[in-house]
Each structure stands twice: as C-alpha cells, then as structure tokens.
C-alpha cells in the first residue's frame, strides 16, 4: 500500500486524477459509508430492486417448471443439444473476468486507478459466477444428479470421467468462485470494521461486527492483511487466464467444425475480459451518476476501461479473422462450409450483428471524444455486452446446427422458457447487486483513503 499512496502523489503524465480534488481521509470515509449507513434508501433503489426481484422470481418459476417438465421446455433438440443455457453460462462466466483482472492483476501491477472500481467489479464477478453456475446445473437432463460430476467417495465406486472438459469445468469454475469470494471478503474486512465502528443501529453493529472478524486496525492486522491479499492476488491471477481457457475447451475438444480450433483459449480469454469491462462500465456509469461518485470514479477510470475494451476487442476481432482465414487456408471442406454457413446461412443475421457489435462499433473508441463522453461509453458498453452474447450464440448454435451429416441438420430457436430463464438470471444478478450497494461499501474506503493526496511519507492510514 505504501507504493500505491506514493504513486498517487500528483503525477505529471496523468490525464486526469484517480480521485477528485479536495478530499481528506474523513470526507472519503464519510461519503462512502454514508451510502450504507446514513442515507435514506432512495425510491430509485426500491424501484430498481423490485424490478430485479420480480425477474428473480421469474427465474424461480422457470427453474421450477423445468424441474417438473424436463429440458424439453427449452428449444434444444438434436442436433443442437446446447442452447441458451450454455450460451448464458459462457456469457456470465466471461463477465466475471474483469473483476478478477482488476482485483488481482492490476493490484500486482500497482495500478492505482483500479482502486475505486475494484470492489464492485469483484462483487460483479461473484454475482456473475453465481448466475453462470446455475446453468450447467439446470441444463442437464437430470439436474438432481449433477453432483455426479464431482469426485466423491461413491458407494457404487463410480468416478467422474476425467477426459471430459465438463469435469475440468467443474474444477475451474468452483476454484474461481471460491478464490473470488475469499478475495472479495478479505478485502472487505477493514471496511466492515469501519462500518461496525460507525453504525448507530444495534443490529448493524452486531452484523458488521461479526463480519469484521475482530479487525482493530493494528499494525499486525495490516501486515497480515497485506500478505493475505497478495497471496490471494497471486492465486487469482492464473485464474483470469485458466477459467475461460477451460470453458473454451468445452468446445475446442469437440470434433464439430467451428468448435475444433486451437485459437479458442486465447480468444475466449480476451473475449471474457472484453465483456467483463463492458459490464463494469455498464454498472459503473449509472452508479456514479446516481450516488454522485464522480470524484471517485473519474473520467480517468472510464477512459482506461475504454482502452482495455478497445485492446481486447481487437484481439477478439483477430480471433474472428483467424477462424475465417484458417477455414480457407486449410481447405478443410467442413470448416469452409461452417464459415460460409455462419456468414450466409440461416443464422447469418446473428453473425453480422455480432460483427457490428463486437468489431465495428467499438472502433469508435479510438476517438478521444468518444472516450470522454459518458453516454457514448454507456451505449458502447451495452452494445459490447450484447455482441459478446451473440458471439456465444454463433459458436454454440451455428456450429451445431449444420455439422457433418446433412440429413441431421436442424434449426434451433429459443422458447419462452429459454428467454425467461435468461432474464431471470439477469434478475438474480441485479438483485444481488442492489443488495450489495445498499448494505456494503461499494468502493473500498481504506484503499481510497490511500489515494488521498497528502504530505508525503506520513502515516498512510489515519
């Protein structure tokens, strides 16, 4: 933390500061903790929460109906055995990646600008992984037996089949969820102690007190905290790359044209970070406007995120180009047909919409004026979110619907239950997010205090 606070003393090359002018330790703590502790719950929050909660109920209803009736309520069939569920799984899990990148890699790289978006980006990761985790569980034909994918001492002596990428998925995603949750919670402890100390209501004191786990802010506590967060950052860093690599193996290990490509791991990881930053932006822009947090989430943050989106978006575009190039360069008949079918077949509009959303529109981020315009960034971030969803649709559905044997070609279209389940997970995500911004400090208080310009080389945390 020492380096961070030193780095944050006025920089000559910085385009705009990472924290607004005129802030002291006290004002930072007041401003962030007030959202949780003293500000009355606004009507806007209630409205948003209730809409999200209703969508969450839609999720409950659709899962109930699914358990009653079976996978047949969805649009999946033979040949398209995977549909919305797997598309949504990959989409959600990809979104989580920005949170881990910000909290782990940018921490290790000592990027001070990560501080204010770190906390809710990590929260976004956990909520996104929760939404993602639902789909593999419910999409199987017999969800009540999904635990058979776990290696546990079974009385029947059965064991998972470790050659299957789905088993790798179980480990990749559960590790990811565990490390992200730990990292997030450990990072929250000093702030939970602040809330405990500032809370007036008895219940709040008790709950925050329990969660703060006896944090008193002693030098020993800080020392251990620093060690723990560095260790967790070290653990989480490979996960940024590994999780989506393993998810991409679900496809790359298959023999299906459009799946069987070695470019998938890097291009999935880039796509994950791309969509993750888009989602951080989609969430950060309304929040900073609503809670007047422009001093903490500055234009510098938005611009940096826009630049990361531009860079990862170009990697993704390179991935698309290579898929097309390799199909024709190898001359492989099935791959060539797959590409032609993608761009000119029955699902061509989806594919072209994907190119528009993920490749063409984000190029406007080259222009400084676009990066400086909050509404433009918001719209672009939404478009990228949509584009990344469409990408997964193209990979899953258009590859499967016409593979090797033409007699078995088919079409896939989602049913109302597919759509309801998808909207339902958005409801789950937003519900958790609304609860988070209401009950936990959405910006890390103690880390923001470290950013407050102060006389150099004094006590860092007042």
């Amino acid at each position: 933390m020492d380096e961070i606070s030193q780095n944050s003393t006025p920089r000559t090359d910085a385009p705009s500061p990472v924290i607004g002018p005129g802030h002291s330790y006290g004002s930072v703590t007041d401003k962030i903790s007030a959202i949780v502790l003293t500000q009355p719950t606004s009507k806007g929050w209630w409205f948003g929460f209730l809409v999200s909660f209703s969508l969450l109920m839609v999720l409950m209803a659709s899962i109930t109906y699914l358990l009653l009736k079976g996978t047949g309520i969805w649009g999946v069939n033979i040949p398209v055995g995977w549909g919305f569920a797997i598309i949504n799984f990959v989409w959600w899990i990809g979104i989580g990646h920005a949170g881990t990148l910000i909290s782990a890699i940018l921490l290790l790289l000592r990027q001070t600008w990560r501080t204010s978006i770190n906390r809710f980006a990590e929260a976004m990761t956990i909520f996104a992984v929760s939404c993602a985790g639902i789909f593999p569980l419910i999409h199987v034909g017999r969800p009540w037996l999904a635990y058979w994918l776990l290696p546990y001492p079974d009385t029947m002596g059965a064991w998972p089949q470790f050659r299957s990428p789905l088993v790798w998925d179980v480990f990749a995603v559960s590790t990811y969820a565990t490390v992200s949750l730990l990292f997030w919670f450990v990072g929250l402890i000093p702030d939970l102690a602040t809330l405990r100390d500032r809370a007036r209501h008895r219940a709040a004191k008790i709950i925050y007190g329990i969660l703060a786990m006896g944090w008193r802010g002693s030098a020993v506590h800080w020392h251990r905290y620093e060690l723990a967060s560095l260790l967790l950052a070290g653990l989480a860093t490979p996960l940024v790359v590994s999780v989506h690599t393993v998810v991409s193996f679900d496809f790359a290990v298959g023999v299906i044209p459009g799946w069987h490509t070695t470019i998938f791991p890097p291009y999935f990881v880039a796509g994950a970070i791309y969509s993750g930053f888009a989602m951080v932006m989609t969430l950060a822009i309304p929040i900073r406007a609503f809670y007047k947090l422009e001093d903490f989430i500055t234009m510098r943050h938005l611009e940096n995120m826009a630049k990361i989106m531009l860079a990862t978006g170009l990697i993704v575009a390179y991935g698309y180009t290579m898929e097309v190039f390799m199909a024709f360069y190898t001359g492989h008949a099935y791959d060539k047909y797959m590409i032609l079918n993608r761009f000119t077949g029955p699902y061509a509009p989806v594919c072209w919409a994907l190119i528009l959303c993920n490749v063409i529109i984000p190029q406007s981020l080259w222009i400084r004026r676009v990066r400086a315009s909050v509404p433009a960034l918001f719209v672009i971030s939404l478009i990228v979110n949509i584009g990344m969803w469409l990408e997964r649709f193209v990979i899953v559905v258009t590859s499967l619907h016409r593979d090797f044997i033409p007699s078995s070609w088919g079409m896939y279209s989602p049913t109302r239950w597919d759509i309801a389940t998808y909207l339902g997970t958005i409801g789950l995500f937003l519900t958790m997010f609304y609860l988070f911004i209401r009950f936990l400090p959405m910006i890390s208080i103690f880390e923001m205090r470290g950013l407050v310009p102060t006389r150099p080389k004094t006590g860092e945390r007042a």
């Binding site: 996978t71 069939n77 199987v140 034909g141 789905l166 008949a333 090797f404």
Partner: protein, 324 residues
C-alpha cells in the same frame, strides 16, 4: 483428429462427382433465404462430402476401389490413448446400399425391439424424434426425376468414439467386444456426447416420453430392454440384449456363438438383407466377408472415428434403352 486438407472433397482420390451430372440445383446463398432450399442443399453437401458413394458398373470395372477410403484416413491417425484390444468377439455390421430400398422396416423393427418411444408430431417437428436408426435419403440429378439414394444410419460404434471422451460421468463407454455402450443409470444428460457425435445418431429424452403409468401399455414393451426415463441419452446398442442372449445360450452349450446366430432387429426385418451383423474377429463370418469387399467404406472415416458399421457403395447399371 485426422482431418485431410485438400480441395472441396474430403479425400484426395479422383472424385466421382466429376463423372456425374452436376446437381441441377442452384445454391441460394443469401442473407436469409438459405433455408428456402434446405433439402437440395443437404443432398448437394451429402455428395460433396462423399457420404453417399455411387458408381456405375463401367466405373466399377475401371476402378474397383472407387469407393475405398484413402489409406491415410487411418494410417496417419494418432491417438494419445492405446488402441482397444479384442480377444473374443468383436461385433460389427455391414450395410449394403445396393440392396436398401428405403422401405423403413428396419426403423419400425428397431423401435419396437428397443422400446424407443413415439414422441408425437410436435416433438418430431422440434427435432426430437427418438429413432435409433434412420434412413437418410439424398437426391441427385434432375429435379423432375431425381435419383434417390437411401442410406440407413445408426450408431456406427466407433473404435475412437468422440462421445466417449466427452462424457463427464463415464455413462458411455467402450465394451471389450467393441460396442459403444450407454449406461442409462449413470447418464446425467449433459448432451455433450450428442453434440460431439459426427453422425448425430444419439437421441435424448427431452421429456418423459415413455408412458410409465398406463398398465395396458406395459405388455407392448420388450421386457429385455430398459424403458428409459426423462433426461437420459440413448442410441443404437447393436441389440445388445440379443447378443447377450446368444452368448448365454452358447456358453450353456459350451461353444462359440455361431455366425448368423445373432440377428439385430433391423437386420431381421430387412427384406433385402441389406444389413448384416456378426463377429468381425472371425474372418469366415458373413459380415467379415462383406467388409472385405472393395465397395466397403466408412462414413466420415477421415475424422479417425473408425466406425464399426461400414457401408457398401451403391452400384448403378441403368439400361440405356430405357428413357423417361
């Protein structure tokens, strides 16, 4: 996987399509109109991909190996895993496309033998029919009087089965006799096996298709075959119940299973005897002899799946004096 990489046809040998009339179908590549002519396109692709191999008698005399798969399909294939060894029986099948008339008797026989559910019109329209065997029909030639080619396709019991590697719970496994077996009890229904099956012969119980409640229907079913429940995958088993019955009988009589003793349901029903099943470890068996014929080819063998079920190419000998 061992993909070949030369030209539009998957194989490198002289393409048969050159010697035939080009299919008189204009492919419509347009933004959305592609599916207006799906059937024509399916047939075009089926011939381009050499799924159906046809020759005239003259062509056959000129090059009797015209239908054979190139050597490199299997010789160049590499695998991380050791090959399966078959010491006893190794079951296999040969399907003669010369004999098949597309009568569908095999489909009906299979359905009743194996308790495959009838799913109804809506589910069939949704792409969820439960037939373990299907007859792929492709057309070629003039649209007004096309030549029709029938090709029965069921699980080909690959030696290197793409479905086996991807099942997370090991519900589809290789038997010591070369069958690709489904374990219904173990299946959780990820459908990954079906997605990864290049032949798309796997069928999934998307709903509770079998009637488990009407007592009068119970007698309809084959008691030797499991009635599948909701959420599990199923597919052709080579009529494993018949194989096991014959093996038990042979064991009781202290002898080997005789050639022709096991007949699969589709084979039994086929009026043209297009389907032959037997032990391919026995070079004298009827199926081994058929597989040794030079018309034998494996569907999608370029994927290194090494199908146990092989097809015999169609030979045509049209009378030039007969005009339409």
């Amino acid at each position: 996987m061992n993909f070949t990489a030369n030209g539009t046809t998957p194989s490198g040998r002289e393409t048969k399509s050159q010697s035939h009339k080009v299919v008189q179908v204009i492919l419509r590549w347009s933004l959305s109109g592609d599916n207006q002519k799906p059937q024509e396109e399916e047939s075009v692709q089926a011939f381009r991909r050499e799924l159906v191999r046809v020759g005239t008698v003259e062509e056959y005399r000129k090059n009797p190996e015209f239908a054979a798969d190139p050597e490199e399909y299997t010789s160049k294939a590499l695998s991380l895993y050791p090959a399966h060894k078959y010491d006893g029986y190794a079951w296999g099948m040969s399907i003669d496309m010369n004999s098949c008339t597309g009568c569908n008797a095999c489909v009906v026989a299979c359905k009743s033998e194996n308790n495959a559910p009838v799913v109804g019109r809506e589910e069939v329209a949704a792409g969820r029919e439960m037939d373990w065997i299907r007859i792929d029909t492709y057309f070629r030639g003039d649209l007004d009087s096309p030549e029709a080619y029938h090709q029965p396709v069921m699980c080909v019991h690959c030696e290197n089965a793409p479905c086996e590697g991807v099942c997370p719970v090991g519900a589809t496994v290789h038997s010591p006799e070369g069958l690709n077996e489904m374990i219904y009890n173990r299946c959780v229904g990820t459908r990954y096996c079906s997605n990864n099956c290049p032949y798309k012969v796997r069928r999934f119980n998307f709903r509770l298709y079998s009637d488990w409640t009407t007592p009068s229907l119970f007698g309809l079913r084959n008691p030797n075959v499991t009635v599948r429940s909701r959420g599990v995958m199923e597919k052709c088993t080579y009529c494993i119940q018949r194989i096991n019955a014959a093996k038990i009988q042979a064991e009781k009589e202290d002898r080997e299973v005789r050639d022709g003793e096991i007949q699969t349901a589709c084979q039994q029903a086929c009026p043209a005897q297009a389907i032959v099943f037997g032990n391919i470890n026995d070079p004298a068996s009827r199926v081994s002899k058929l597989k040794a014929q030079n018309r034998t080819y494996g569907l999608l063998r370029e994927l290194n799946t090494r199908p146990r079920t092989t097809h015999l190419a169609r030979l045509r000998n049209p009378n030039p004096e007969i005009k339409e």
